[in-house]
Amino acid sequence: MAEETFVLEFPSSYKWLNMIDLMCTEITAGMDFGRNALNEISISVIEACTNALEHGNKCCPDRSVMVVFRRLEDRIVIEVTDCGEGFDFADYLQHIPDPSDIHKKRGRGIFIMKAMMDTLKYEKVEKGGMKVILKKMTDRGGEEGDE
């Protein structure tokens, strides 16, 4: 299968997240993922978009979130880019909060994506903003850890 790319840009509003989920479902349909893996991809994409619009774009409707799905033979790669100031991901990983702490209202998104995807990377975008890259190998794609 040649690589197929799908791009979507949406304003920072929760109302578009279901559309992203539907798009994700359509794109991953027919790939060699089991039901659990498909759920994990869907959950992770929603988390990435939620973080982008909440923390990156501060829910400002003038700022958009760009989502790129790259469907390959053995993997799905999803890039979510916001227009925010960005943050130090390596530093965050050193102080990642306990997701089971019931006194914390937030801060579980990155933990969830890290647990559910094979690769989770953050990159600062030159023109401003932060890009999260999620990758999951298909059942035929073999193992691949965090990069």
Partner: protein
Amino acid sequence: MKYKVREDGNVTIIDLSGKLMGGYDADVFRDLVHELIEKGRKKIVVNLAGIKWINSTGVGILITGYTTLRKNKGDLKLLNVSKKIESILYVTKLNLIFECFDDEHEATGSYTRG
């Protein structure tokens, strides 16, 4: 997010539907929980059968409800947790916090047994 409130004896069942993803939903659910506590309705079952989409912010909304009720000597239990929600709870170990049920009678009955 939409909701309906029902009563079964001294247990209150909140039927949630739609998306549970943060923003305005957090205020609505917080106000509802406070309203129920003021009425003395502190034994809550949240029915998630109608929830189509949820994220970690949505789970945070449920946790806030849970901690508010626990501080007021109440409790919040979950009913009809989908596979997706179950995965989020499992990964974050919040499955150890929330009591989850597939059957409404078992959920409401757990309060009398407890």
